[in-house]
Symmetry: C2
Subunit: 163 residues, 2 copies
DNA sequence: TTAATATAGGATTTATATATCTGTTAATAA
DNA sequence: TTATTAACAGATATATAAATCCTATATTAA
C-alpha cells in the first residue's frame, strides 16, 4: 500500500472540484454527485458531512436540498480540503517512520524530504479553486463523456452556466 | 489516514539503513534488529524475507545466522527498497484519485503533481546507502542513546567497526 | 551426531479504513 | 398542512493492512 491522501480525502477533493465547476448557490445532492463521479453514495454523504463541518461546503436539507460550496471559489484551496480530511500529519511525520525525527536528530533524508514536503504544501496552497477552474471543467467534462452520453452532459451544462 | 509509504516499507527502510551502518558480511538476527529499532520482531521477519526475495538483503539460517545487505552500499538506493515493498503505484496513480488521469485527460493538478513526483523519485534514487551513511550512523546512534544506555551502545560499536 | 538457533512459510488474529444500512430530522413543494 | 425529499447520525459490515502465532527446515557450534 502506498497512499498519499486517504480515499476520503481523494473523494472530497473530487467532490469539491465538481462543485467548483458550477454556479455558486447551486445545490447538488449527494446522490447526484456520486453518480457523476461514479463513487459510492453513502460514503460520499459522510465525506460531504465532514466538509460541511469545516464549512468548505454548506448543506440544505429536504426537497431541493443538497450541497454547495461554502465559500467563493477564490477562498477555497486544495490544502483546505486536505487538512479537513487528513489533517497535517503528512507534513509533520518522518517519511521513514522514525519516531524522534527532529532537526537535532534528523533521519538520513530529513532535509531533502523537508524541501519536498514544503513544495507539496505550497502546491496545494498557492492556487484557489478559481485559478484551476478551467482545468476542473475539462476534467469533469471528460469524466462525463466517458461515463455517459454527451447529450446528457450537454443538457446538464446548458441548465447551469459554467463560464 | 495519510500515508506515503506503507508501514512495511518504512520498517524495511529503517532495517536497511540499520544494516548499512555496520560492516558488510556482518549478520544480524531479526530479533537483534527489532530490539534496536523497537519494532515488532515477527513483522520485521516478514519484511526481511521480502527484502531477501529482492536480494536487497541475504539471509543465513541457523546458528550465527541472520541478515546482511545483499549488495555493496554503493549499489543500494532507497528507491530499491520502496519499489520492493510498495511497488511503483505511488509514481503512477492520480493523486486526486481520478480514474482516467492522463496527459490527454489531466486532472487539475496533473502537471504540478507530476513534477513533484519526479522530484520524489529522483530524491530516492540519486544517493546510494554509501553517500548517506554518515547521516545513517548519526541517526542509528541517536536511537540507541534514547532507547538504551550509552555504554551498551559503545560496546556494540566497538565490536564492529563503523568507519 | 546432536542440541541449539534462526530463517521460512502458512495460518490466524487484530486494527483500521472503507463502505453500507437503518431510522430520524429538517425543509419545501404542492 | 401534508407528502416527499434529502441531509443527518449512529450502528453495522466488509476489505485491507498490520501484527502475531505455530511448525518446519536449514545451519552450525559443541
Amino acid at each position: 500500500m502506498t497512499v498519499i491522501f486517504s480515499k476520503k480525502c481523494e473523494l472530497a477533493l473530487q467532490a469539491v472540484l465538481y462543485l467548483s465547476v458550477f454556479d455558486e448557490e447551486t445545490y447538488f445532492t449527494a446522490t447526484d454527485i456520486s453518480k457523476r463521479l461514479k463513487i459510492p453514495k453513502e460514503f460520499l454523504s459522510k465525506i460531504l458531512q465532514s466538509l460541511a463541518v469545516h464549512s468548505i461546503v454548506v448543506s440544505k436539507k429536504g426537497k431541493s436540498g443538497g450541497f454547495t460550496l461554502g465559500r467563493p471559489l477564490s477562498e477555497i484551496r486544495l490544502i483546505d480540503i486536505v487538512i479537513a480530511m487528513d489533517g497535517l500529519d503528512i507534513f509533520h511525520k518522518c517519511v521513514l517512520g522514525f519516531k524522534g525525527c527532529t532537526v537535532e536528530k534528523p533521519c538520513p533524508v530529513h532535509e531533502k524530504w523537508g524541501k519536498l514536503r514544503d513544495l507539496t504544501y505550497r502546491m496545494l496552497s498557492e492556487d484557489t479553486l478559481l485559478e484551476i477552474r478551467e482545468k476542473s471543467i475539462d476534467k469533469i467534462k471528460s469524466i462525463h463523456s466517458i461515463n455517459e452520453s454527451a447529450s446528457v452532459f450537454a443538457h446538464t451544462y446548458s441548465s447551469r452556466s459554467y463560464n
